[in-house]
Amino acid sequence: MSTPLTVVLIEDERGVRRFLSAAFGAQDVVLVEAETAKMGLAQVASHHPDVVLLDLGLPDGDGIEVVRAIREWSDVPIIILSARGRETDKVAALNAGADDYLTKPFGIEELLARMRTVLRRSQRTAASPLLTLGPLQLDLVGRVVRRHGTEVHLTPTEFRLLALLAQHVGKVVTHRQLLKAVWGLHTDEHVHYLRVYAAQLRQKLEDDPSRPRWIITEPGVGYRLREE
């Protein structure tokens, strides 16, 4: 990353803060640390960071509330740092507007990769109509999908689902977000729609549908269209 980035880290565990500050020090990233939700919100407001890293288990409040509060006035990418076994919180935070998540413990490489993804997306002006993923070419405006140069015929629903994933390429989209955007459903009860359509999309887009490379399942959370 060429220009220095500003990252606000809202995390109450000192060990994690220390490790990240060391890691970012070598990466030309300005790290602003906050131990509590309240402090974190103040830092986000005053520093206008490029990325917010948010731990869900804060001593003074619910991380999901922090996501909602930030989303009231900012589109800054938010990456959730959460422990395993708190999938419900994670999904709630994603539904509230967080961009992605990482399960602790995580390596610095993983974190940097996620950050790159969200930054690329936030820097992309509007949703760029053309997307190339390996052998796949998606033209969201022209509603054309090609695989190895051959046009693939998608049903309208399949296309809506793929387009939604493509708009958030690299980022996980929750079941609820998908069901709401594609079918206008407001419950998680119809996850089986997604199972069926994900399988259909894989049949049409993947080279080996039993080893899906592009349409990735995030168990218990949602789907992700992988970036190259």
Binding site: R84, E87, T155, D188, Y193, A198, A199, S210, G220
Partner: protein, 858 residues
Amino acid sequence: MRSSRDGPQGRLKIYLGASPGVGKTFAMLEAAREARRAGRDVVVGLVETHGRAETATLLEDLEVLPRRSVRHGGVALEEFDLDAALARRPDLLLLDELAHTNAPGSRHTWRWQDALELRAAGVDVLTTLNIQHVASLRDVVAGITGVTVQETVPDAVLDRADALELVDLSVEVLEQRLREGKVYLPERAERALQHFFRRGNLVALRQLALRQTASRLTSAPTTGSIPAAVAGERVLVAVGDGPDAVNLVRAGWQLAEALGGACLAVHVELVSGAPLSRETQAALELAASLGATVRRATGEEVAAVLARLAHQERITRIVLHAARPSRWRRDSVAAQLSRRGCPVVIEPRRDAGHHEHPSRPRPAVPRGAVLRAVLWVVGAATAAFALRSVLSTADVAMLFIVATAVAGAHPHPAAGITAAVLSILCFDFVFVPPFYTFAVSDVRYVLTFAVMLGAGIAVSRLTSRLQRASEAASTRARETTALLNVARDLAAATTPEDAAAATATHLRGVTHREVSVLLPMVATGLPPLDDVDARDHAAAAWAWQHGEPSGAGTATLPATPTSWRPLRAGGRTVALLGLRDPLPAATADGERFVAGVGEQAAGAIARLELERQRRRDEVAIEAERLRSTLLSSFSHDLRTPLASVHGAATTLLREAERLPTPVREELLRSIADESDRMSRLVTGLLDLSRLEAGPLDLQHEWQSIEELFALVRLRVEASHPDLRVEVNVPAELPLIRGDGLLLEQVFLNLLENAALHAGNAAEVRVAIRVQAPWLEVRVHDNGPGVPAEDLERIFEKFQRGSTATSRGSGLGLAICRAVVHAHGGQISAHNRASGGFEVRIALPLPADPPPPVPMEEP
């Protein structure tokens, strides 16, 4: 009678005197003051000064318990406050006049019961008693003084006293004290001297008191009922029906006492369940209160029953009343017993001549039977008259005898006697010369008359006996069947609650009364008294605490509507049985049935409670064992990587500059690898503990097994490039409901397990198919398999296959099992015949398929 309470008993000391005024209370108070000087905690529960100044002086600086005011019939009575005494719980408590009867509404009917309860609670009790109040001496005292004492103390209480002190005063000094007004106020004293306190009375009473004390010095104190092994005299009192039965019991008891032996009071019932006469009931109660063992036996022949009992109980003497002058009994019971070789002591009847019949309620004369008897005789007479030309006189007599016999076939003798008398009259009047007079010319006809009468009575008696025997048999059969049913239901019960419910149901059915069986609650160890009538609380609590019956029909809190009896087994009370409106005490039958059921129920409840306790213990032990294995395995598995991480990190901190780059990198890599291993271990344990906490946390979403396997396969293939994974999926695989993250973990663990155990170039095959109502997943490898003995334990935590490297956490298959079970599925491990290890998982297919997905044009 023994207290259910643990801890040492107190001591009961009785100051016994020949008459009022000898100084019992005085002696007791002096002893109390002595005890207080010795530093003991002394409280006066209740002492009557009777206005005596010297007594009042002694009382002055002792702590006196306030009395309890009771209103009874508009009169305010002051009573000893037992509850306050128990709450105060002194070392030593003074309680005057042991023979006192408590006011109605008190817990116990008699004060001696208060004293025993205090003693059972660990309080030493000092008390006083006059000789005329000793139960077994009541008759003797009445004989001497002409006064029948109403308030008595059972001899058993004296026997159970830890000390008995005679307060003796010569007759002269007592008379002197009376005259000086030290016993009664002067105006009453003179009258007393002329009546109860006549010199003759005083001398006799003093002798009685001296003798009583002396006899108790020679006999070791018994515990109330007959000690199990008494060598020596055993006296059986055959309690009869008459009002004199009470006297016989006293006489028998005194004989047993004089012989230093035990006493057994027996009442023989011809018919089981026949109501006892009031007199018999009183006699048996007296016997029980004296400390005799009380038995009720049933049998045809009184003598046979007594002889059998005498043999069984090694009785040395049978005390019974002289036979009543009997009209038709050939042989007295005493004579029969003598013939059987039983030693018999005959007591003269005191009521001889007064009472021909016991006051047993006699059945009313059956009018219908008498009328039928008359009709039979009239019929016989008519037939005989019509056929008189062909019949001889003897034939006519036979006809009448037959009529008499048939009519007499009724348990009540009235029918037989009516028929006999009527037959004789008809026969005599019509058929015996001189005809149509009642005169008899031939003396031989008198014999005929006698036969007629005899036939009538004999048939009636036989019928009566037969009927009684069959009634007894059917009662016994009913009782036996009922007891068998209870036993069957109790044996089938699996919890103490079941047993209690079965007991209540059976007793309700037989007694037609409201029955409750209360079990102690886990929280308090007490029965749930909130569920019972508020009037029953005190009695139920008392019965529970003391392990003795209370409430209606007993001497403790008799005003309670329910009779409470503890169900005891193994020396402790396991439940309480409450019987609303207790059975009339006189039905030995019902009483025996209730007691029998109670005994069975107590045994069953105790057994089931023990069983429950044992199961609880087993579960606790198993859980503890698991916990400790888990802990030791876990700490081992965690400490190993921690040691590497810590070692590498500290080395880097100290020596970073001096270490060559490759070494530094190796140390860093080791930190990364080992912490990764720890992370996987902790993640696994977290998953497990979440699963073990209960399946509530599961996310039940529609899942595609195929999709999950695709995901897992990519991950495993990325980390094990040499591994080949083949997944066989049918074209139309139904979705199942489950937690995606956990199922993913299962499949990941299975594939990684295969990679770990089957070596690098392993092949793993996954076969998924529908075997309604299951979705079956088989994962097998081409590795060496697992030793047969490991197959059993392979799903346990921290069980690593013997071929495993140290990289496995030992949690993989345990997590698989927990997840599969949480989804209602099954998992098993096998060695394939063709080689390789296989895990089979069956996950339940949902009962209802997911709602259809809206389809569209392709």
